[in-house]
């Protein structure tokens, strides 16, 4: 019962935070001038009518000099219309200034761009987490021996070299000099074919190096702390071999801290890395976001901002809640 109460309280708080941020974003966006200029080849009347239809403006009139006048709908009313449309029809609007997707359904465009981002991140997690854990475990077990030193140097290097530089180095060496992979990811939709998979690999490597270093460092710190615990001594005294003691007691205890972060990593595969996506030309959500900023397509920006905020909030809450499920010592919500 404690558990249920705690989880629902956390979820409620998360939703509250999310709606505050979302509302703030909406208000700030709506305070900006509405982009009413027609793109070349667009009929200004259609542009105005579209905006009226979306509920952003009202009372449109064409003046004698061809200039359109309109009244703005109060922002909170706009917000109501916006939310109503999202909830009843799942309609986030259409692209108004983002040339490539003009007049297309935003949600559809967004969903079409999700797979590359998710796939790259999933692959990188699948490669990065086991390697990171393994390195961390080796380093902790061989603490202060040469294996530990080597892994430590490796970790420090990987953590210190910024991902922007790492990605550039991978692109330069493997894609350009050696020519093993194409320079940028293929735009084909056939994500599970070999050529597309191959073109994803540099981005995957660039992403997973960071998580390898992170997990290795984290695991090493946690495990070596657990190994010095007194219950480990007890485990050995009652007759367990070193191997048994490490597997049954040390690993389990250190995983209590590490596992939640793995879980949250699987949540954040959705958002991905803007830098990697830009560098390797991944046709994913990141590129969409950057372009929506450049084109000032506000509805697009709202959708993607909401998405990124939601993902990061969820990732945070997953960590907190999973602690309670994994670690029997934590009674969530208990006073």
């Amino acid at each position: 019962m404690y558990m249920f109460k705690y989880v629902s309280k956390r979820l409620g708080l998360m939703l509250l935070t999310f709606s505050i941020i979302f509302t703030m974003c909406f208000v700030l966006i709506k305070l900006l001038p509405i982009p009413t200029t027609a793109l070349p080849g667009q009929d200004p009347e259609i542009v105005m009518k579209t905006l009226e239809g979306r509920g952003w403006i009202t009372n449109i009139k064409e003046g004698s000099n061809g200039v359109w006048t309109y009244d703005r709908v109060p922002i909170m009313l706009q917000f109501g219309i916006y939310l109503k449309r999202i909830i009843t029809q799942g309609d986030f609007g259409i692209a108004t200034t983002y040339g490539e997707y003009l007049n297309m359904n935003l949600w559809q465009v967004f969903v079409n761009h999700l797979p590359p981002t998710i796939l790259i991140n999933i692959y990188s997690t699948l490669i990065g987490v086991p390697i990171g854990l393994a390195l961390g475990i080796i380093a902790a077990l061989k603490k202060n021996k040469w294996q530990d030193q080597v892994i430590n140097i490796f970790i420090i290097l990987l953590i210190s070299v910024p991902s922007i530089v790492l990605a550039l180095m991978i692109q330069y060496v493997f894609c350009f000099k050696l020519g093993w992979f194409p320079l940028t990811m293929s735009v084909s939709n056939d994500y599970f074919s070999w050529p597309v998979f191959r073109s994803m690999l540099p981005a995957v490597f660039a992403l997973c190096l960071g998580s390898i270093a992170g997990y290795a460092r984290y695991t090493r710190a946690e495990l070596s702390e657990v190994l010095t615990g007194e219950f480990m001594l007890l485990a050995r005294t009652k007759g367990l071999t070193k191997r048994q003691a490490i597997y049954r007691h040390a690993m389990r205890n250190s995983m209590v801290v590490i596992f939640p972060s793995i879980l949250s990593e699987f949540v954040s595969v959705l958002s991905g890395s803007l830098i990697i996506e830009k560098m390797f030309g991944v046709n994913g959500v990141g590129g969409l976001y950057l372009n929506s900023i450049t084109f000032q397509d506000y509805d697009f920006f709202m959708l993607l901002s909401g998405f990124y905020t939601l993902v990061s909030l969820t990732a945070g809450i997953v960590i907190d809640i999973s602690y309670g499920f994994i670690d029997p010592r934590i009674r969530m919500g208990a006073k």
């Binding site: 922007i164 180095m169 330069y172």
Partner: protein
Amino acid sequence: MMDYNNIPIEKFQFATRNDLYHDSKFETKPVSYFQGAFKRFSKNKGAVVGGVVITVLVLFAIIAPFFTPFKPAYYDMVYAYVYPKLNVFAESGINFWDGCKEKSTNYVGYLKDLALATETGRDVIKNGEYEVSEDGSVYTYRYDTYYGVGFGKYKTISAEEFKDIQEYQNRTGKQVLYPVVKSSDRPSLEKNKYDANIYYVVENKKASTIRPKLDKEGNIVPNYWKYEVGKASSTIPEYNSLRLEGEDGFEENGKQYYYAYGRKVDGGIEVRAEYYEYYIYRHNEVLKDGITEPTFIFGTTQTGKDIFACLAYGARFSFIFATLVAMANFIFGVIWGSISGYSGGKIDLTMERIAEILGSVPTMIVITLLKYHMGTTSQVIVLFIAFFATGWIGMAGRTRMQFYRFKNQEYVLAARTLGARDSRIMFKHIFPNGLGTIVTSAALVIPSMIYSETSLSYLGIINLEAGNTTSVGTLIAAGQQSIMANAGYVALFPCMFLILLMLSFNLFGNGLRDAFNPSLRGTED
């Protein structure tokens, strides 16, 4: 059995004759918190090295802009993609950092470079050394990217400048202008017609790729425009300055000829100016901007920007900016965190909630919104506000934790009993104790801030170029484009800077954190 409850008083004795021990003075010197921290820090070699590297980088960022005449706004499209050159290496003939690149080309390519070298007397092909592959199709040599520019395109200058250059040539004895080729003798395709490097007779004027036509001895035949002395046509301007060697009024068929050093066209005189000398002339005599010679220590980018200057100014901006933001974060975060941590209860809860909500907004969204609203103001201010808006939260959290740690300790209670005011307890009793940790974390935010700024510039969300500065991120973006042009050095220096910065800050930060952790005192001895 003894009866311990009733020991007779006679059984008790003084342990020594002197009945009392007094506390004796410490014989060792007291070690203060900061002395101890410094001692622990200097024992950590990695941290010290990190500190030294950071100092060097900061010095570079502060001093280097004063030593280079170039500015981030400077660009010269003719000298695009010229390689890094350090005069020390270039003059001592070491094949490294000398502004040259390995070039592999076919015979025609080699011949063109050779032609340029022959005319100007420059080491376009370093030391004239080259290797030919076995089948004779590939020529490999070190190609000087500075001299290799040669003449660039035909250049149209004003009559005054033409005169001024002649005067300059007479004064210094350096040849800037070379004879031109008659318009009708030039190759016909647009891209070759204005290529001032083609001064020789070519095999096929209409071809896209120009092949020099050689004479019987295998030499290149110049195709200069010549005119009979005293019979200059109206299109050839007056020229009284340095001429090519042995060319001073040469005789042919009993008549005296001169080469034409310019051609009158609409809007001035079309000349062939050797760009290296012309560059020196232009920057020393006309612009007077302190640039004496085209020597780019870190090379130039695709648009001919000096990487050294861009990096130096970018680094300087980054450091100053990050320090300012860190200070702003520190001040605001400390005030917020101490109020929140010291008060506790409802105030704490409210302040925490506000900070949590603000902290959950992704930085990218904050920056974008600010950019939309303040599009016309400087990007630096947008960046500052955005980093401040998201950065103080961590600072406040750490301060709050320190306050929680100390506020219930006995000495605080004692101070309160003695009647100290809240503000006194906060800033005289609690804050100094947490200062080490707080300052350390404030300083360690600097690299991550520089990195965020770099990423944002790389992504193109922030563009600092407008404000007469630049960012390392912009340089890295330029470097990525240059990969295709096989000019890896463009990204090399900015990347090195970032790596060194992050690595040294990491080492330094680890050392600092350990040093300020009093529980580690004495563990290393």
